[in-house]
Symmetry: C2
Subunit: 417 residues, 2 copies
C-alpha cells in the first residue's frame, strides 16, 4: 500500500479564519484508491515553512499532495517552495503560458504580468490542467516519490484532484488495496439509540468497520471495507449490509450520496405526484432543498414563503379567523397552510412549516423552537407533527427543514398511491 | 510572541470521513491572545505517530495543543503518546479518579474499568476539567515548553479551550501581542480586480497585513493588525482602513460578520420598507437567506417559489401570454415576477429570480447558467439584470442568490426614500 501525506497551505487556516475542508476531500479520494494517508500538515503562506513541510513529508511518504498557494499573488508560494524542497529551478512552461494568455483573451481581460508566474513550474514537473481557474497544478517526481500541487479553492481543487491527480497516482503507484465505503443514511433516531442497536456488530467488526456520524436530526452509519479489489470490498459490504439494516429498522432513508430531498423527489416522480410547500419560519429553505435536486421541476410545483400573516391568508387561503383564534404557530394553521399550498399550487401533496425560530417572539406557551409541520395528502388526509427543540435561530431552522423533509419521505414511502 | 503548533488526532480525518473544525477554533483562540500558530498536524489513532508528531512540534514551538484521543477506548492513545514523547510515566490522579466515579454514580451507570484510563496522566501533568464529558484534558510542561491535550468532540473541546486552556497559556506565556482582524466585505468585483486596486498597499504592508478571500460572487478583504494590546491593534486598523476603502471603491457592503442579507435587511428596516420575493430557479434560497436574519419579520413579507409556470401566473400574476411569447426565463417575465411579488405580497420592494440552473433545460439561445434578476422599487421603476455563468446546478443557484441579494443591496443603498 502506497503511503501519502497531505500539506495544506494558507495562513488563514493557522489564524482560524478558514476551516480546511480540502484535507477531507483529498484524504477520501486517496483512501478510495487504497493509498494510506499517514499525516496532514498545515503551514502558512511562507516559502521556508512550506519547503520544510515538503522536505519532511517526502522523507516519510511516497506521495505528497499539497493544496493551496498556486494563485498569482505574492502570497502564493507553493511553486517556489516545492522547487526549493526538491532543489530544482523554476522554469517557464511555454504551453501553460500560451494557455494562460488564451484564457485572458477569451475573458477579454488584460493579463497582468503577475499572472505569468502561474506558468512556471519546478524543472521536470508535469502541469495538471485547471478548467475552473487560472492556476494549473503540477506533479513532480524524485527518487520514485512524487509531490503533487493543487490549487486551494475547492471548486478548482476537486475537479483537478478527481480528473488528473488521483488517476496519476493510481497509474504510478498501482495500489493493491482499496477502501470502499457504504453509507446508510437514517432519519428520526438518535445516535445513542442507533449505537445500542448495532453495538454488538460494531465491536466485533474490524473489516468491514462500522462508524456513525451524526448531523442535526440525521445519523449516517458508515461501513468501510478494505480488500485487494473494489469488487472484493463491495462483496464484503454486501454480505454484512442486510444484518445492519435488520438492526437499524425502518429509519434508513437512503444510501451514499442520497439525501432526504433526493429520495423524496424520486418517490414523488415514481408515484407521478406533485408537491407544493407553504412555509413561514423556515423562510424558503424547505423549498430550496427540494429545488436543489436536479430534475425537481418534474414534481415540484412551487411554494409560498408566508412570512407575514397576510401572506398566509392571501396566498395560502388560511382563514384570518383561524390565525386570530389559534395563533400563526398552531396545529390548526399548519394544517390550513398545507391544504392551502396543495390547493393554490394545484399539487397532489402539500407540506407546511410554521414555528418560532427566535431569537425573539417566544412566549411561555409558545416558546422559541416550537414548530408545527403539516402534511396534506391526495386522499384529503391532513396530519400534523409538533416539534419543540431549543437552540439558535439557525439550528431551529435547519432542524425544521430536516423534519419537514423526513415527514414527506415517511408519508411517500408508505403511500400506496 | 509565543509560538504554537496544533496536533489533531483521529484516523477518521486521514480517511476523509471527518472535516477537522477543531483546528480553526483553537487557532482563532490562540490568535486572539497573540500566540502565533506556525503549523498544524493531523495524525491517526496510533501511539507512535502521535508521539512522533508531539516530539517534532515541541522541538519547534513553545506551546503544543493536541485535540482528540482522550476517550476511554483502545483507540484513544493521546495520554500514552504524550507521556512517551516527554519520557514520563502515566500515573493515576486520585482526584480525577474520584471525579469519574462520582460522575458515573450521578448518571446511575456502572463505570466500566476502561473508563479509569481517563484518570491517568503523564507524570507532572495538571488535569483540565471537562464539564461536558468524561475525558479530562491536561497540560504538562518540560523545559519551559508546554503540551496541552484537549478532547476531540467540539462541544467538549470548546468550553475546555476557552475556560481552561487559553487562560493557562495566557498566564504562563504572558503574550505581549494580540491579533485583531477587520474584514471588509465586497460584492460585484473579482478577486484579481480587487488585488490590482490594493496591490500597492498590500505589498508595502506587513503589519497590518492585508489578505483576500474569495467566495462565489463575493470577496472579503481581511486586515490583520498585531500589537501589544487590543486597543492598539484596533487603532492601527482604524488608521489604515480609510485608505483601503478609498481604493476598493463602492463595492464594500459590510464589515466583519455582516452579510448581504443582514446589510440589506438593516437598510430595509431603517427606511421602513418591506420586501417580497418571487423566485424560480433559486427555489426559495433567496427568501431563506433573507429569513435567516434575526428580526427579518419586521420587513420581510414573504415570497413565492414559482417553480411551475402556472405558479408564476396564479400567485405572481404573470400574464400567461408573456411566458408564451418570451419564455419563462426572460427579461419580461423577470420584471413581471418582481412586480407581481411586490403587488401580491403588498410589499414596497419586489425582487425576482428566473433562470436555468441545469443540468438540463438549456438551449443554444438560453443556455444553462442564464439568470435574470428583477427589481421593482416603490417608485414604480423596474430594473433587470442579466447574468450568465457556466457551472454546476448548485454553483449557479448559489451565484444567483448572491447576485439577487447584491442587486437588492445596491438599490437600497442609493435609495433616497
Amino acid at each position: 500500500v502506497a503511503s501519502a501525506e497531505i500539506i495544506t497551505i494558507g495562513t488563514e487556516m493557522l489564524l482560524g479564519q478558514l476551516v480546511d475542508t480540502n484535507t477531507a476531500v483529498i484524504a477520501r479520494a486517496l483512501a478510495e484508491i487504497g493509498v494510506d494517508v499517514r499525516r496532514e500538515t498545515s503551514v502558512g503562506d511562507n516559502e521556508a515553512s512550506i519547503a520544510a513541510a515538503v522536505v519532511d513529508a517526502i522523507g516519510r511518504a511516497e506521495v505528497v499532495v499539497c493544496a493551496g498557494g498556486l494563485g498569482p499573488t505574492v502570497d502564493d508560494m507553493t511553486r517556489g517552495a516545492v522547487a526549493a524542497a526538491l532543489e530544482r529551478p523554476l522554469v517557464l512552461d511555454p504551453e501553460s503560458n500560451r494557455h494562460l494568455e488564451a484564457m485572458f483573451a477569451r475573458l477579454k481581460r488584460p493579463m497582468a504580468e503577475n499572472n505569468r508566474v502561474q506558468a512556471y513550474f519546478p524543472q521536470g514537473a508535469e502541469p495538471l490542467p485547471n478548467p475552473h481557474g487560472s492556476a494549473p497544478g503540477f506533479v513532480v517526481e524524485r527518487d520514485g516519490r512524487a509531490v503533487l500541487a493543487l490549487p486551494g479553492p475547492p471548486r478548482e481543487l476537486q475537479p483537478m484532484l478527481h480528473d488528473h491527480a488521483v488517476p496519476w497516482i493510481e497509474r504510478r503507484f498501482t495500489p493493491n488495496a482499496v477502501l470502499v465505503t457504504r453509507v446508510l443514511r437514517t432519519a428520526g433516531v438518535g445516535e445513542s439509540d442507533l449505537d445500542a442497536r448495532i453495538a454488538e456488530l460494531f465491536r466485533a467488526q474490524k473489516n468491514p468497520s462500522i462508524a456513525m456520524l451524526a448531523h442535526p436530526g440525521l445519523v449516517d452509519v458508515k461501513v468501510t471495507a478494505k480488500a485487494a479489489t473494489r469488487g472484493a470490498a463491495h462483496a464484503m459490504i454486501a454480505e454484512l449490509e442486510p444484518a445492519i439494516r435488520a438492526r437499524l429498522g425502518d429509519c434508513v432513508y437512503g444510501v451514499d450520496g442520497e439525501t432526504l430531498e433526493s429520495v423524496a423527489g424520486a418517490l414523488l416522480r415514481r408515484r407521478g405526484m406533485t408537491l407544493a410547500i407553504g412555509e413561514s419560519c423556515t423562510g424558503g429553505a424547505v423549498a430550496a432543498a427540494i429545488a436543489s435536486v436536479p430534475g425537481a421541476s418534474a414534481y415540484f410545483r412551487g411554494g409560498v414563503v408566508a412570512y407575514a400573516n397576510e401572506a398566509k391568508c392571501r396566498l395560502l387561503d388560511v382563514a384570518p379567523d383561524l390565525i386570530d383564534r389559534y395563533g400563526a404557530v398552531s396545529e390548526e394553521v399548519a394544517g390550513a397552510m398545507a391544504v392551502g399550498a396543495q390547493a393554490s399550487l394545484r399539487a397532489d401533496v402539500g407540506i407546511s412549516v410554521t414555528g418560532i425560530a427566535g431569537p425573539d417572539g417566544g412566549t411561555p406557551e409558545k416558546p422559541v423552537g416550537l414548530v408545527y409541520i403539516g402534511l396534506a395528502l391526495p386522499d384529503g388526509s391532513v396530519s400534523i407533527r409538533r416539534l419543540d427543540w431549543p437552540g439558535s435561530r439557525d439550528a431551529i431552522q435547519r432542524r425544521a427543514v430536516v423534519a419537514a423533509l423526513a415527514s414527506l419521505w415517511r408519508a411517500l414511502r408508505y403511500s400506496d398511491n
